[in-house]
């Protein structure tokens, strides 16, 4: 059916062997740190020693009402998580600032506010993990020859 194991057959190494991660210690930063450090083809290094820098510029979480019932009570919320990141190499953007938006729905239970708050946290962790995977997939898609293109003004 045309599927092949990722990374087998055609070799798809990363376009760089070392990376600096500039991100908060919690949330997405922690998920990225964890997932990147598990890659055998990559070393995480300080900014001045690494070939490229992955920067998490900002993160935000917004909780929106998704469903109300006939009594005007909230039945479901939606968490909207946004993260902005970019990849730079010696002061130039390799991946321009990009925003990821992820959404998770969850039902609300008025008799279990604390439990739902814990569930909200678990969904946030899941989104951090998901966002980290999406970012790493974009890193993996970079081609070495496609390296630094446009200089960033002001740098």
């Amino acid at each position: 059916c045309g599927f092949h194991l990722r990374g087998m057959g055609q070799s798809t190494p990363l376009a760089f062997a070392s990376l600096h991660l500039q991100a908060p210690l919690t949330g997405l930063g922690e998920a990225l740190q964890r997932q990147l450090s598990l890659r055998p083809d990559l070393t995480l290094l300080p900014a001045n020693a690494a070939e490229a820098s992955l920067v998490v510029d900002s993160e935000s979480v917004d909780k929106q009402i998704l469903t109300v019932n006939k009594s005007g009570r909230v039945v479901e919320y939606q968490l909207v998580y946004r993260a902005r990141f970019h990849l730079s190499q010696s002061g130039r953007d390799w991946i321009a600032p990009t925003e990821l938006t992820l959404r998770r729905d969850y039902s609300f239970d008025e008799s279990n506010v604390l439990g739902k708050a814990a569930e909200e946290k678990a969904l946030l962790r899941d989104m951090h993990h998901d966002a980290a995977q999406q970012i790493i997939r974009r890193l993996a898609a970079l081609k070495p020859q496609a390296a630094p293109a446009t200089p960033v003004p002001g740098k």
């Binding site: 599927f3 990722r6 109300v68 959404r103 997939r137």
Partner: protein, 696 residues
């Protein structure tokens, strides 16, 4: 001929060349440093740097153009005056224009005008003007001040003020914001006139008196501040005597965040309302009116690589609806929690999470007959684990073993403990293939994943329930050990979750365009630990089946759908479907359907912002509860974009309690760049119509 290096003078006739005074006549044009002066005649005084010109003059510099009668200008100090000026000033789309009886040059970028009119409307559209006895335009500070002024819309003056100030570049500026006019079912005529006070670059306030015909004057204050290491927002609103309610009422909230030192931060969230019905009566948005639990909490967070800790003190104010009473949540006074992970010899990983909490039941719940067993207590949990994550580009496998340890000391004197070993094995493979999709080259992945969990049974029926509940069944929950949130129940498990995900991502950038997922959990043992739900019967060996599909298959289309199917009952338990078509900003159409058996939800939802003509946009939402044959929210309105102003008329109705609805009619006129925007009805439109965007 050239004078003084950078200046060029052209005219039909020039006299006095080489002397201190120079006169030119007939189509005079002087160019210097990108500035051009055109006039019938010009006198130049080279010693003082002064220039006089008439009878018709025009001064242009970059995008600034001033034309009028007699001109006097000192080149060095940029002072002088221009009679009967008409002007075009500023740059970009925010250019302002107007006319006056007299203009005074008051230094670089500064102008004072007498008997002036000012607008940001383009030439030929004289829809609105700021009229002023004296108008100051300061482009060095992007500030406009109209003294003894009024605002004129379509020739009708409507807001007189001795002092109106406004921003010349759309940045924050003190002044009156667009007033909003509501007509509500419960309060009658309702007018808000917000005043924005830009106290300092890092501090501002909005003071919004709100006159509600049937209740009285509600004073609404919002204060925001920002520092290098802190930021916060304070809101207070009060009505001295609510004529309809018969008492004074108020609400208060304070959110503050502070970076104390490297790694240590604190935050405070205090909210309070005077009575249970406060937000039902005064909230003009669902998000405000539906609030039930107001937190009062403070937290200290400490984070260093490998360790995060948090100390929380939290209590809630519960706003009860007599037709629909709810149990008040436990207060945590305090809760200390931490997560720690340490490097072990590679590739092992050690993790430990834990918490210690003191739970106190709420004071309100005591009087409430439906309250749960009112038991206070202390709980501590420690959960160390060791895992062996093995990751390759084509897959991963992670065995993990841990011990979940808990201790309780309860107010009735009981001491309980629970010690459970937890074993899990998570594994997955990644397959890829190249594919085509709407003419794009994409990679399609196929990602099977298997997750096994084993936790032995421990009778927990005597354990209290401080903060636990059954989590929603979804893809995040499928791959976690415990079906219960909070710390009071740990399920017995001998179960395997199987899931298959397929993603489409672009080959060149790795951007995810769409994903499809399917998953189910299989149980090898019957369920024994329960919370409030009935245990699943012994013959049930598989969970519901869940499927989801979502993404942006085409640039203009977004799709998000999920389905939870109960295989025993052969029926859907939960369905959600959302489709958005948004070909352009300002044109979006949303279709939604939600079904939830447990919560008795079956709703259709349609919303749109759609251009009817080049200038008129329709906005609408219709949220219909199918079994109740009742609209939960209806919204309809029009937006008229006059080019340099926008007018909005929006009617909204939404359910607030079991047998009440709130109805609001918003009218808003927004003059571009003259003031920031009031929160309504824009916030309502943003909440109700996904993809809503502002016209101007």
């Amino acid at each position: 001929e050239e004078i003084a290096g950078t200046t060029t003078l052209q005219a039909e006739q020039i006299e006095g060349v080489g002397k201190g005074e120079l006169q030119a006549r007939g189509n005079v044009q002087i160019d210097s440093d990108g500035r051009r002066i055109e006039a019938d005649w010009v006198k130049l005084f080279q010693d003082s740097g002064e220039l006089q010109a008439g009878d018709n003059t025009r001064l242009s510099e970059q995008q600034n153009v001033l034309s009028g009668g007699a001109l006097r200008l000192n080149e060095t100090s940029r002072t002088g005056e221009l009679a009967t000026p008409s002007f075009r000033l500023g740059s970009g789309p925010r250019q302002g224009r107007g006319d006056a009886v007299k203009l005074l040059f008051d230094g670089p970028g500064k102008y004072k005008l007498q008997q002036a009119r000012f607008t940001t409307c383009s030439v030929g559209e004289d829809d609105w003007f700021v009229r002023a006895g004296q108008l100051e335009l300061d482009y060095s500070r992007n500030l406009g001040i109209a003294r003894n002024g009024s605002i004129e819309f379509k020739g009708v003056p409507f807001l007189y003020s001795p002092y109106i100030d406004f921003s010349l570049d759309g940045s924050r500026k003190s002044g009156f914001l667009a007033p909003s006019f509501n007509l509500t079912g419960s309060g009658g005529v309702d007018v808000t006139l917000p005043y924005y006070w830009n106290i300092a670059p890092d501090m501002d306030a909005t003071i919004a008196p709100r006159l509600i015909a049937q209740r009285g004057l509600l004073l609404n204050n919002e204060f925001r501040y920002l520092g290098e290491r802190f930021g916060g927002e304070l809101r207070a609103e009060a009505i001295h005597r609510d004529r309809d309610f018969g008492a004074s009422r108020s609400a208060f909230s304070w959110q503050h965040k502070q970076q104390l030192f490297e790694g240590l931060s604190g935050e405070v969230d205090l909210q309070k309302a005077s009575d249970d019905r406060y937000f039902v009566d005064f909230g003009d948005r669902i998000a405000v009116a539906s609030q039930t639990f107001l937190p009062r909490q403070a937290a200290l967070n400490y984070t260093i690589p490998g360790l995060s800790m948090s100390l929380l003190v939290q209590r809630y104010q519960t706003l009860q609806d007599s037709a629909n009473p709810v149990t008040e949540p436990y207060a945590r006074l305090p809760q200390l929690s931490f997560n720690y992970n340490a490097p072990l010899p590679a590739p092992y990983r050690f993790e430990m999470s834990g918490e210690g909490s003191v739970f106190k039941h709420g004071s309100q719940a005591v009087a409430n007959s439906m309250a749960r067993t009112q038991l206070d207590g202390r709980r501590s949990i420690l959960y160390p684990s060791v895992s062996l994550p093995l990751e390759r580009s084509w897959g991963f496998i992670t065995p993990r073993i841990g011990a979940h340890l808990s201790r309780y000391a309860l107010s009735d004197g009981r001491e309980l403990k629970r010690e459970l070993p937890v074993f899990s094995l998570d594994s997955g493979l990644y397959f890829d293939k190249d594919t085509e999709w709407f003419g794009n080259t994409l990679v399609q992945s196929l990602e099977p994943r298997a997750y096994y969990v084993r936790i032995p049974y421990k009778d927990q029926s005597a354990f209290p329930n401080f903060d636990s509940g059954v989590a929603d069944f979804n893809f995040a929950q499928m791959f976690s050990e415990n079906q219960y949130t909070g710390g009071d129940r740990v399920n017995d498990a001998n179960q395997l979750t199987l899931a298959l995900t397929s993603r489409l991502f672009t080959q060149d950038s790795g951007e995810e365009r769409a994903r499809f997922a399917l998953g189910q959990r299989f149980y090898f043992d019957p369920q024994r630990v329960t919370l409030t739900e009935t245990a699943r019967s012994e013959d049930v060996t598989a969970s519901d089946l869940i499927a989801s599909v979502g993404g942006r298959p085409h640039d203009d289309w977004w799709l998000d759908a999920s389905w939870q199917y109960d295989q025993q009952a052969h029926s859907s338990r939960k369905t959600a479907f959302n489709l958005r078509y948004q070909p352009l900003p300002g044109s979006s159409l949303n279709l939604g359907y939600r079904f939830d058996k447990r919560n008795d939800i079956k709703q259709a939802d349609i919303s749109a912002q759609w251009p009817l003509t080049r200038k008129i946009n329709a906005v609408a939402r219709y949220n219909w509860s199918i079994p109740d044959r009742r609209a939960l929210e209806t919204l309809a309105g029009l937006e008229y974009n006059g080019g340099c102003w926008v007018f909005r008329a929006v009617n909204q109705r939404f359910v607030t309690t079991a047998n009440e609805t709130s109805r609001t009619f918003f009218l808003q006129l927004e003059l571009n760049d003259l003031g920031k925007i009031g929160s309504n009805p824009l916030q309502t439109l943003k909440d109700s119509i996904p993809g809503y965007s502002k016209l101007n």
